[in-house]
């Protein structure tokens, strides 16, 4: 049993090592991109931002509007409308501290993580990565770097939108259903929405974006030559991303709060 645990730990360390190496290589490639010009890479980056960010925006907005409304409804049911400041505080704590970065990352994993892993896996099996290399275009620079940057940008921006919309949803519910005025609602929001809260939320989304994109790229590139590995790469990418995102969320929360 001890041997099995050791083997699992070694595998985990190797996995983290591979992820770090891929991220480091992407970082090195970004320096080369700065030196050589980023025209084609920038195009891939924009596409990634579009697919991960713009196309997911509607889902994120609706979901977080409802989350804001639900939190406020439950809080008013629990504590009454006289507790508007407490309600706002809970809303900020739940949404900005936790749900904003976490749920956004989960949605991005479900939508774009699988897409990235399966797309890269298909490209690798079809020999397209070798074709790129034979054209003198390093695959990490052209395929991986813009995907990592694009997905990270998308997660950051989506999280911001998600948190803003959630607070707006909370206010709309408080105002329309319970007649709570904006000033009273703000009293519970503004004092707690400190730069530190926003900074930690930003840090979480940054880490999640980097992590999810790197894990999914790594899974996509890890396939051999069989088509059956394509869906496996997608599934593994999603499961590993989810696990790591939750683990890191706990780690960041425990460290910084």
């Amino acid at each position: 049993m001890l041997t099995a645990a050791g083997r699992q730990a070694t595998r985990g360390l190797l996995f983290v090592g591979e992820l770090s190496m891929l991220l480091f290589r992407a970082f090195l490639e970004s320096l080369a991109v700065v030196r050589q010009g980023f025209r084609p890479v920038f195009r891939v980056y924009l596409k990634q931002v579009y697919f991960t960010g713009v196309q997911a925006l509607a889902v994120i907005l609706v979901l977080f509007l409802l989350i804001g409304a639900l939190i406020i409804t439950q809080m008013f049911n629990l504590a009454g409308t006289g507790s508007a400041s407490l309600t706002g505080k809970v809303l900020v704590w739940i949404v900005v501290r936790e749900l904003g970065p976490l749920l956004t990352a989960v949605i991005v994993i479900a939508r774009s993580g699988t897409a990235i892993a399966t797309e890269l896996a298909t490209m690798k099996i079809n020999g397209e990565i070798d074709v790129l290399e034979s054209l003198g275009i390093p695959a990490v620079r052209y395929l991986i770097l813009p995907r990592i940057l694009g997905m990270t940008t998308a997660v950051l921006v989506l999280t911001l939108y998600a948190e803003a919309v959630s607070v707006a949803g909370g206010f709309l519910t408080a105002s329309l259903a319970w007649g709570v005025p904006l000033e009273q609602f703000n009293q519970g929001i503004v004092p707690f929405l400190t730069p530190r809260e926003i900074g930690i939320s930003f840090l979480k989304s940054l880490v999640f974006g980097l992590l999810v994109s790197t894990v999914c790229c790594r899974q996509g590139l890890s396939v051999g030559g069989s088509l059956t590995q394509v869906p496996q790469a997608g599934t593994k990418g999603v499961m590993q991303s989810l696990l790591l995102v939750f683990l890191l969320d706990v780690a960041i929360t425990a460290t910084l709060y």
């Binding site: 195009r43 490209m123 079809n126 790129l132 034979s134 054209l135 275009i137 052209y142």
Partner: protein, 218 residues
């Protein structure tokens, strides 16, 4: 003058067993291999994607395996590869496939690059599918786009991984005619056909044919 491509005691079991051969600048040559897999592996060796076990392959005077990533890229941009199925990037549209190496390697304006790419695609009868993804094209169209992409950067060495299967006579003749014409467009350009069947090149003209048999050029 240095050879454009030179195999020096190249060993990569079981395909190359001490192979020696020079391909001089300005020449057209055909290498008849023992199968499609061997041709594909030779393409990888020529582009430095598969290192040899022993010996060297010099492309334009460089051993790609020994170069840094940056230098490899610089040499590879001077080599054109025509893949049997086109070798297109599946998530890029036809026009993007052809402009990609130019956008990546040259400082020309996007408009100029696109103008050149469209002219090349028109030459291969693909001017009407500029914004199609490769998956929506027939095999023949994909090959044509592959030709256009290989021609676009004006390479000094062009390698055709030649497969005649699946082509009708008219298409085969078109591809051979274009390949020979492209060779003549630039003095000093080196053209190498890799094919398992010498007959697949019938009608392309007279040029040396070497056989890669049992790991050696004969």
């Amino acid at each position: 003058m240095d050879a454009a491509v030179r195999f020096i005691d190249a060993v990569l079991d079981p395909v190359l067993k001490g192979a020696d051969r020079s391909f001089e600048p300005g020449t057209i040559s055909a290498v008849v291999t023992e199968g499609e897999d061997v041709s594909a592996l030779l393409v990888r060796v020529l582009t430095g994607l598969t290192p040899l076990e022993e010996g060297q392959v010099l492309i334009l005077g460089h051993d790609l395996v020994l170069l840094s990533k940056e230098k490899q890229g610089e040499v590879r941009r001077r080599i054109g590869i025509v893949f049997p199925d086109g070798g297109l990037i599946s998530n890029l549209k036809v026009l993007e496939n052809v402009t990609l190496p130019l956008l990546y390697h040259t400082g020309e304006s996007r408009r100029e690059i696109e103008r050149r790419a469209i002219a090349l695609l028109d030459r291969f009868g693909c001017g009407d599918v500029l914004f199609e993804l490769p998956g929506n094209l027939s095999a023949s169209r994909r090959r044509r786009v592959g030709f256009a992409r290989a021609f676009a950067p004006d390479p000094e060495v062009i390698v055709y991984h030649w497969r005649a299967g699946g082509l009708d006579v008219e298409e085969r003749e078109l591809f051979l005619r274009e390949a020979v014409a492209f060779h003549g467009d630039a003095p000093g350009r080196t053209t190498i056909f890799l094919t398992p069947h010498a007959g697949a090149l019938a009608g392309a003209g007279t040029f040396p044919i070497v056989h890669l048999t049992r790991g050696r050029f004969e």
